[in-house]
């Protein structure tokens, strides 16, 4: 099964996390990372597992690079039944809107019939932990559950 990591980012942290995940699993699984801004939602198919890696920006909004992806989903409302995804959010618990961006995307995909697998992973920028470390542990646990 193919792994497609889709990242939505403002500062680039989510992009590095996505690349870390791909580097770590590439030996065992076909995997690739894509900026959501460059990803056509017609490419969301049941033959892959989508790992959504997304930050939150401003007052609980989606980061810039995730917005065209979310807008396309809202406007075209494709039937995503059979599509599976897992979500890893990057946020800062300092703010009340902690990780709202990744939750927005998870809800949107769920509404359209896609199924979320595994736990919703989270990295807290205020924790001092490296996002890549937290995300890799999360990705391993997701893959082991498949």
């Amino acid at each position: 099964m193919k792994l497609v990591v889709l990242f939505g980012t403002e500062t680039g942290n989510a992009e590095l996390v996505a690349e870390d995940i791909v580097d770590a699993v590439r030996a065992e699984t076909e995997a690739s990372a894509h900026d959501m801004a460059d990803f056509d939602i017609a490419g969301l198919t049941p033959d892959a597992l989508y790992l959504i890696v997304c930050s939150t920006y401003g007052d609980g909004e989606l980061p810039n690079s995730a917005q065209p992806f979310a807008n396309a989903l809202r406007e075209q409302r494709p039937d995503l039944s059979g599509v599976r995804f897992a979500v890893f959010g990057l946020g800062d618990s300092f703010y009340a809107t902690y990780n709202q961006g990744s939750r927005l995307l998870a809800e949107l995909l769920g509404e359209l019939g896609a199924r979320q697998v595994g736990e919703h992973g989270l990295h807290d920028a205020s924790s001092g932990e490296l996002p890549g470390d937290v995300a890799l542990a999360w990705a391993k646990s997701i893959l082991s559950q498949l």
């Binding site: 500062t11 942290n13 590095l16 300092f94 703010y95 205020s126 001092g128």
Partner: protein, 421 residues
């Protein structure tokens, strides 16, 4: 393949993001990030507020440049002073200037030179323990007026209001905070030129203020309409914070243009006129903080305009053959860290295009062309790691770091040889 040697002057976010993009394209190019300070990351370390560690955490991303991707750090080297820009250009195929803009924009009104008028950039560097501000000791008095309505103005407001026990997890220097704010001002006005709905600060910055204890907020000059506007709603919500014992009062004013700071030997008041009509506003004040943006200030490097050659194309960051600029130094003092990431990537693309298009001949040796005596006494990444480790080890309880403020001490720590070396 044509692979250039690249020197980036300034190791703040724009320089680091440019290095990322250039490294992605040229895995083997020599890329050197130069900083006039012995420590990297510029604005992330010295411009982002000490209690915004989540924002500062972007430096964890930049660490990878040095730790995994072979980018070199060359700290404690000021281009224009210890090495001329021409000499640097003679050594490297590409020189990218990403030195930012750290001068406080002037208010340009009478009274601006009174001693209790402080620039927000200087204040921000002071609370971040920038070595250049060691001798700066502002006094706010009982009544302070902040001029400006951007995020930096809110950072200053929060600094003046937030008690020490709310700085858990920050890298604030407690003694510095005590010196600065004993006693804290009790009456603060924050005054912007634009109407409230057009104020530049982010809504999330306002929400953060609502958590501060013992502060009563008053919001003046709000429009009667505008329900549902997130920023106006957040302002109205602030006004509803009504602590039982308010020790300090903050008043937001909108639509006022500063005209003069009054006082003969010290600040006594500041006078505004309405941006929209003939109205006037006079506020008594013991101090004034200007937070109206940033500008170039005379430094070691020539001004950007003087560096632009006949084929300069500022839109793409091109100043002259092999000489580029990025970030605030290119675009002016606008935009957050993410916007300057896009800026740095755009300039990196222009650099790549000019090398791939054959406009720049590659082959200059880079670091190897610089004299040994110039490189002696500089700080490399391992030296910064020693400073970093020392600062983290020295953190007070509840703090993540205690910065070394003194430049000579930074150098001593950077150059100390660990056991076994």
């Amino acid at each position: 393949m044509n692979t250039p040697s690249i020197a980036i002057v300034g190791s703040g976010p724009s320089g680091c993001y440019a290095a990322q993009a250039l490294r992605k394209h040229w895995p083997d190019a020599q890329i050197v990030l130069i900083d006039r300070l012995p420590v990297p990351y510029g604005l992330v370390r010295y411009g982002v507020a000490p209690d915004h560690q989540g924002t500062k955490a972007v430096s964890r991303q930049f660490e990878r440049l040095f730790e995994r991707e072979g980018v070199r750090f060359l700290g404690n080297l000021e281009i224009g002073r210890e090495l001329t820009l021409d000499e640097l250009r003679a050594a490297f195929d590409i020189v990218l200037l990403a030195t930012g803009l750290d001068g406080d924009r002037a208010l340009d009104i009478p009274g601006e030179r009174l001693p209790q008028v402080y620039g927000s950039g200087r204040l921000t560097r002071l609370v971040n323990e920038h070595p250049d501000e060691a001798g700066f000791s502002p006094r706010f008095g009982e009544r302070c007026v902040i001029v400006g309505n951007g995020n930096v103005a809110i950072d200053i407001l929060r600094l003046l209001l937030k008690p020490l026990d709310h700085y858990q997890g920050s890298d604030l220097a407690d003694d510095l905070h005590r010196d600065l704010l004993s006693p804290p001002p009790r009456e603060i006005h924050i005054v912007g030129r634009s109407p409230a709905a057009a104020a530049k600060f982010d809504t999330v910055m306002l929400r953060e203020l609502a958590k501060l204890p013992g502060v009563a907020f008053r919001i003046e000059d709000l429009p009667a309409d505008g329900q549902g506007d997130a920023k106006l709603d957040a302002l109205r919500a602030l006004a509803e914070v009504a602590p039982a014992a308010a020790e300090r009062r903050v008043t937001f004013r909108f639509g006022w243009q500063p005209q003069a700071i009054l006082g003969s030997i010290r600040v006594e008041a500041i006078r505004f006129t309405a941006s929209q009509d003939e109205g006037a506003l006079l506020l008594d004040a013991d101090s004034v903080v200007s937070a109206i943006g940033f500008a170039e200030r005379p430094g070691a490097l020539p001004a950007r305009e003087q560096l632009a050659g006949p084929r300069a194309d500022l839109e793409r960051g091109l100043l002259d053959a092999g000489l580029f600029c990025a970030g605030w130094f290119r675009r002016g003092p606008r935009g957050t860290i993410p916007e300057n990431r896009n800026d740095a990537r755009l300039v990196a693309e222009a650099i790549i295009a000019s090398v791939e298009g054959g406009q720049i001949a590659c082959g200059k040796p880079g670091l190897a062309a610089l004299p040994d005596e110039l490189l002696a006494g500089r700080v490399d990444y391992a030296g910064w790691q020693r400073i970093d480790a020392t600062e983290q080890a020295n953190a007070a309880p509840g703090r993540v770091r205690r910065k070394i403020r003194d430049r000579a001490r930074m150098l001593a720590v950077a150059h100390a040889h660990p056991h076994g070396e």
